[in-house]
Structures are given as structure tokens and as C-alpha cells.
Symmetry: C2
Subunit: 557 residues, 2 copies
Amino acid sequence: MIPSILLRSLVHSKSCRSSAVVTRLQHSWNYEDNGSQGSRYPRHHAILAGVVGAGAGIALWLKYHLTAEAASSLLVADKEVAEYGAYKDGMPEYTLEDVAKHDTVDKRVWVAYRHGVYDITDFINEHPGGDKILMGAGGSVEPFWALYAVHKNPHVLKIFENYRIGNLAAQDVGAMVKDMSDPYGNEPRRHVTLKPASQKPFNAETPLAFLAENLITPNELFYVRNHLPVPEVDAKTYELEIVDETLDKEKMIKLSDIKKYPKHTITATIQCAGNRRSEMMKVKPVKGLSWGQAAIGNATWSGARLCDVLKDMGVTLENTTALHVQFEGLDTDPASMPYGSSIQIEKALDPQGDVILAYEMNGEPIPRDHGFPVRVVVPGVVGARNVKWLGKIVISEKESDAHWQQNDYKGFAPNIDWDTVDFTKSPAIQELPVISAICVPEEGETLKVVDGKVSLKGYAWSGGGRKIIRVDVSTDGGKSWQESDTLVSDTARHPRAWGWSLWEAEVPVSEGISETRLCVKAVDSQYNTQPENFENIWNLRGVINNAYHRVNVKLTR
Amino acid sequence: MIPSILLRSLVHSKSCRSSAVVTRLQHSWNYEDNGSQGSRYPRHHAILAGVVGAGAGIALWLKYHLTAEAASSLLVADKEVAEYGAYKDGMPEYTLEDVAKHDTVDKRVWVAYRHGVYDITDFINEHPGGDKILMGAGGSVEPFWALYAVHKNPHVLKIFENYRIGNLAAQDVGAMVKDMSDPYGNEPRRHVTLKPASQKPFNAETPLAFLAENLITPNELFYVRNHLPVPEVDAKTYELEIVDETLDKEKMIKLSDIKKYPKHTITATIQCAGNRRSEMMKVKPVKGLSWGQAAIGNATWSGARLCDVLKDMGVTLENTTALHVQFEGLDTDPASMPYGSSIQIEKALDPQGDVILAYEMNGEPIPRDHGFPVRVVVPGVVGARNVKWLGKIVISEKESDAHWQQNDYKGFAPNIDWDTVDFTKSPAIQELPVISAICVPEEGETLKVVDGKVSLKGYAWSGGGRKIIRVDVSTDGGKSWQESDTLVSDTARHPRAWGWSLWEAEVPVSEGISETRLCVKAVDSQYNTQPENFENIWNLRGVINNAYHRVNVKLTR
């Protein structure tokens, strides 16, 4: 089954505004659910609006050939779909390295899909989709098909299979070759389009334009934030240790034990505290990875609720003296010290807090880079507390004493520098404030003016379960504003709105100008707004970079 | 008993920084409680720092005479205290109108206390306290003694009684004379120092400087926001109607029934959505009362938890299909339509949401202006939902359809005007975002530079149970910032920190300048910050006025 949220997320082009968006204005604004959009089929020209990436050519083909009836077959076609991309006897074998060499039209454009290798150059020529069509070239096409779910359709795959030129080498379908002499010698394979901010530990963000394409960020394209080498954990022998320091109790539970609890699924955005740090750095240098605007992603997560697991140990908000729940990862530093972090007990034990011991991400086992086999998902709270490869939970009167809780991921006043900072004086970041970004266009791009207007799209999100209620955009550097045309999210409502919203806007630009500055700012359901500039929120660690996002573009008519 | 919070609130002068504030930095920053400050006695010179108002002269006297031992007697002296200010046979009788005429030293300064009238002119001369000492002149001295709790001490009252000149006329100790021909002819008597924004309905704010003096705002000085005439409700016959539309159930409960539920006490700030509107108005006119920075106050509220009362009707989060809880007041318009408003069911039924049917304000029956005999207190949520003179509760799938829910108290983008506004397109304001203000000095004042520094104080608050974690101040118009020296609040922690924080700062000013602009901005426990300016948050209704607060002052050395 394709999750209904993927279908729903397709309903955010302008052509569907009369159904999806107006529904939302009437109901969701009143803090109501916005109906059962999952059962609606988008019109086929809506499905395909704004398509980018390696699958774009196919999507453009669909624009002319797919009927609404065919689109509805998306819901039932999974079995048939599985036949395509299988190993085929007698075809030449290529490695991912071979595929990667073919990333331009001149060199021919190759992509991989499951066990198959495809040369889609002629397809691209037949249905040109602009420069962006090449962003996925030289890698696996699968994550892009997760972005544009319509591709997982027999009609599409049958055509696609015509471009098959070989089989993908067996070792490239699985994991990478291990090098045990390097602590980072056993990392999972990553998608070629991820944009690394550092290699060891591996940290990388999604190409920005992809983020605004689908409410759900595909696993392979989801930003990666690792602090240490990725541990290899065997799900069969995996055990989670749970200690209650206040009652001097402890127990071990297996993955199969965790799966016995009711399976709880939430849609939640996870964001690094340093997302958009590269913008703050322009004011004055800070320490930290130079993230763009894509150290953020939105996924569905399934697992056992932490409050259910802890209730079984007799821990409830009414009876515990604990103030914090600490988490330790199975990832360790050279001194064998694990990654660690903690959250407040109120969040951990509140059934409405939706903290889960997650074993699935977007309906699949959590990938290694994202915490296989179990990560804690603390929705609404900074990524650093969503501990991956979860090894230990400690119920305590104290916060985690790990570096990442005590001496990192905290904010300070703009006058505090590394000579004067006292990390005990600021609270550890937990819930993140409201933020937004323009994903399309990107800085420096040339934007086509159509009927006096330009088109923008992007995301907006707030932590703490606050829902985005409005996004304002400006095409004159912030002198004037108008509300976005569409604003789409899942149906969760404040104070459990853990997922982001995607927005699109067509905005007039002044006549005669050849360049301008675009801006975006968002408002959440607590009516919190973003700070205007980075100067007054500057902090030495470069966290909470939520000033207005500004993008300079050239205009063509 | 004097509430311990009053004592605790005295511990926020600089001289006590080493105890109260450092404690807070070490514990509360880690989201810990900050200890049992209620059991500490402030040093007597700390108690009296920064005293203003009609009681200032007495406070200054105490500065020289009160010992720490005497201060501790505050805890036990209530009985003895009650003897002072009683009716005295043979003394002349004066009305409050008579007292009001004596509001300057030239005319002699009179004040009222319970049944007594006092001429404190000679006391003021003996212990001058600056211009502010006269702010309470011509009115009742009692609210100021609530601000400076140390006054309710036999030592003080005995001296004070020496200045007794008469009895207050009986009708002035009780309510005002009724005029039944005027819908506003039966309003409660208000304290002379309240600054009216409108008379009918009565709306008035606290003199700004008083707000920063005590964590608890005295009842008589608490800002008043009425939408309609104040109803006269008899507590003996009062009944509250509760209707569950989803189950077609209803019942009536009396005040005595409400008092049978466990008494739940919270400290919560209530703020009007339009607080600080006068600042936004400078950008472009808006509709609404021209509030300064004091349409906000902090009080303790006691009553029954709404979730307990509704549980008795079988309504819990787990089993109800309702989405909203509507409230109606007993105040009505000329067409007999009541004031109305609603909140989300999640807030109403969450035991951690702390919504209460309050019958006490600061330990006393709720005053008429604040909702006698019962108002709902929805902590962290805009004042408009904290419905006073509560007459009816409706559990519903729909929001209240009252004007104040549907067509008022909503925010919009800056480009929306009264010709283009569509009130269905914005959600009703519920939780309010982070805000702060400088209370001392006020706009246009002359400030003394001592050792190159000036002293500021004020408040900071955020809705939704978010706690203030930092206040930054600037004495150069926002070019540079430093953190406040002290930041004091009650011990509640995120996400149930309903009360505000008071802050003080001594900040260097540039040499040689004779005027400057002071600024303040705050950060809450979700790391939300304030917007810099009003331009980009401007909205036609003038709500959510939480840009940095800026105060222009002259400097003297």
C-alpha cells in the first residue's frame, strides 16, 4: 500500500486549491481535522505539477498519457510493480561506480532501480525537463519515485524497463565493503544526491528543491546527522536496556518485545538545531557544520509509545519522582562513550506527547543511517534528542550528563563568545521554534516571470506540536508581503501537529527589474513569528537559525 | 497566611542575586525546580529595593528600622494586622471623593486603608521617595501594600495609624451607588490609579511601573478588560450550566458544588491580545483600545479543575468526540446575547493543561471586575478565552460562534485591510507568543547614570506554558545586547510555566550621550524569540504586539 499521506501530499498544486486548500481554510483554521483527503484522487495534471529530479521525464510523459483511472491504480499495483527492476539473466553487470560516471547527457544518463541499470538519455531528450532532471543522474532513481509516487505504476515501469541496459552488481544492491581498520569503515551506502556537510562522521542534507515536492521525505533522501560512526546492529540479538534510577529497577527488552506494544504511527518533522547555520555564519563565524536549509525532513514513524513501555515498569507522571528520561545510542566514540541526550519526563510520559520507540520510517525498517533497528522519535523536539541506535533508557532525576546535552545544543545571547560562554547558564534546546524556507528557487537562480508573477515553494514548521497557520512571502526584499496561495500539511492539529507544512505562492514582481530578493516568514498556531534578521539571534554555536529566509534571484521575462 | 510566593517574589533585587538567581541558573536552566525559596527570608535591604507608590515612604522608613526578625513575623501577623484600619468612633467621616482631592503635597496627601483615612503628607516629607510616591495619593493604599507585602506588619501599621485623620464613609467601603437607568450604572468601584482605556465598557491598565515590583499583581491593580457591563451575581444563587452537545447531556452546578472538587491553585499570567497595541498603531492605525504595556497581570488562581468537573459527566479525552469547549459569560449585550468564546478540547481535558473554574484570585474571592463568583482560567491562553462571570459551558464539535471567537481576536498578514479581510481565514488566537516590556523607566523619563550604568526592570512572558529562559537588554537602540542580571519567576517548569518572569538589569551606557533608546527582547523555553519591529507583524486588529519594546530616555549624570 502506498500510504494515503503520499497521495494527499500530491494535492497541493494550485489547480487543486479549490478542493484541498479551501477545505483546510474552513476546517483546519478552526483547529478541526481537514477531512479524509486520503480517499481523493488528484487530477492527473495536478499530480505532475512542478516535477523535478531524475524521474521528471517519465512524469512529463505521464502528463500526456496517464488518465485519472490509471492514477487510481496506484493503490493496488504494488504486486505488479515488484516485477520490474528484477535481476535479468544475460545482461551486462555494472557497479554503482559505473553508473555514477554517467551523470550528464554528453556521457549518457544512467540511473539504477533495484537490480537494474538504465540509460534514460533518449527518454530525457524526448521529454526535456530542464536542468533539474539531471540531479538524480548517476545514482538510484528509487528515492525520486518515492517523491513522485505516481511512478510506482505498471504503466510507467513498463516504459522504463525499455531503457534497461544491464544489472546492478550484487555488492551494490546490498551494503558497502567493510574496512575494519577505519572506525568509519562500515558505513551504509548513501544516495549520490545527498549533499555532505562532513564525511566522518557522515552528515549530509537533501538537495533543497526536493524537500518541497512531497510532504514525506523519502528515506534515501532524508538528511543525515551522525555524531559518531554508524554502528552495525543485528535486529535478532538487539536488546534495549531500561533503568529507573529512582526505583532502582532495570530490565532488558528485545525488538520483538517492543513490537508487542500497540503500533503507534505519527508523521513528524525532524530538524537539526543547526539547520540554516550557513546563513547565520555570514553575520559572524560560528562553530558547527555549514548547513544549508535542508537539514530537516518529514517522515512517518511507527513504533511503541514510550509511555506504554514505561507504564509497564510502573512509571507514570502521577507517581514518578523522575524529572528526565535519558537516552544512550549504540554509537560510541574512541573511548567507547556512547552518544547521549535527554528529554523532560513530562514529554516522555504524556500520551499526547507521542514519543515512540520507532522501528519503521516511512513504512520500512529504519535505515542504518537513521537508527536501525530502533530510534526514539521525540516529535516537536530538536533532532539531537531523537537518539538513534537506541541502546539504553534511564529514568532519572537528572538530565543526561553527555556532552551533547550539557555542552552543546544550547543558545546564548549575541554578546557571548567562546571566552565568556558558560554552558551551565542556558537550558538544553528541546522544542524548536517556528522556521520556514524557500526551496524553489534557490539562491542565485534565474526565475521566469509569467504574467508578471514568479512561483515560489518551500516548507514551514514549528516544534512543540504547533501547526503552521500562515506563510507570508515577499518579492521586494520584505517591503511588502502576501500570504502563500497554498499551505498543505497532514491532518494533525495543535498541539500534536508534529509534521511540517509545504507552501506554494505565485507573487507579482515589480515591472522592469532584473533581480530581486525573495523572503519568507511563517506564523505558528501559538502566533509565534520568526525573527527578521540573524544579527540579534546570533549565537556562538550557530543554533536556532530561524530568521526570515531570503533568496536573491535574477528575473527573466 | 501571606502566600509564600509573595515572599519569594521579594528575592529579586540585585543584592540577593547570589542566592535566588544562581540557584535558578543551576537548576531551573536544566528544567529543574529552583528549590523551596518560600522558606527563605529576604535580607531587609533587599525587601525594600526599588520601592515606589503610596507605600514608599513607609517602606523607606522600614529600610532603617526593620530587622530580619521582624520581617519573618510577616508569616504570622495577619490577626494582629487586622486590628488596624478599623472604624474609630468620634472621628470625622470622609468620602473617597474627599480623599481623591488630596493627591499632591500642596493639597496634603490623603490615602484610605480599610475604614480609615490618613494624611501622610508629613510622613512623605520625612522620607521622600521621589515623584512616584504620589501615584497612589488620593486613593486606597491597600493594593500597594499587596505589592510590597512587608507593609502588612504590625510595626508598619502602628506607625501608619498615627497619621489617621478620619473614617471612610460607609458607602465607599462597599460598592458604588447603582443607577439602573444606565447599563453601566452598576459597576464595581475601581482603584484610582488604574489607567482607563475606555469607561463603558470599563477597560483599564495598571500603572506600568508597578508591574515589575512583585511577581503577583494585586487584585485592585490588575488590568481590567470588560466587553460589556459587569453583571451583579449572587454567589448564593449562582448556578453554572454544563451541556455536552455530543452526548445530549446537561446539568447545573452551584458554587458549593464547584468547591467540593479538589482545590487546585496555579500562578498564571493573563494578557489581553491587544496589550502594547499603542506601539503597533504608530506604524499604521488599527482598530482597538490603545493599550500601553500593562494590559497584563500575574495572579494566583484557585478553583476546581475543569477536567475533574467534566470527568464527572463522563467526558474524557479518550472517549469524547468533541473538539471544543465553549464558554458563555453572564455579561450580556443590549440584545441579551452573552459574551462567548471557546478553547480546544485537548487543553480543556488535559490534567497538565491546568484549566480551572476559579473562585479565588490571590487568595480572595474573585473581584467583580475579574469575574465574581467564577471565571474560567485557561493558563497560557489569551485573556479573551478566560471567560469571566461564567454562566455556561458547552462541550461541542464546534467552536463558539460568538463574535469574539469568530470575528475578533485573530491575526492576519500585513497586507490585509478592512476591505479584504475574511475572518474565516485565520484561526482564533489561543496561546500567546513570547513578549517582554521595560516597566522602569518609562518612555520620555530621565534616567540617572550611576557608575556609567543605568538600571532597568520589567516583565517577560510566553503563553502555552513556555518559561522565559533569557532576557536581553540594550542601551544603544539594539546595536549591542547583554543578558539581564536577574530573572525571577515561580517554580513551575515548562510546559506548565503559566506565570511571567520579572527581570532587572544594570547596563553600561556610552559616555557623553544625553539620550538613548533602551530595548528588551526575551527568549522562551521553546527558544522562540520576539520579532524585531512592528512593520512586518502589523495586522488590522492590532493583536499580538510582541515586537521588541523600545523606550526613549534622557540621561543625567
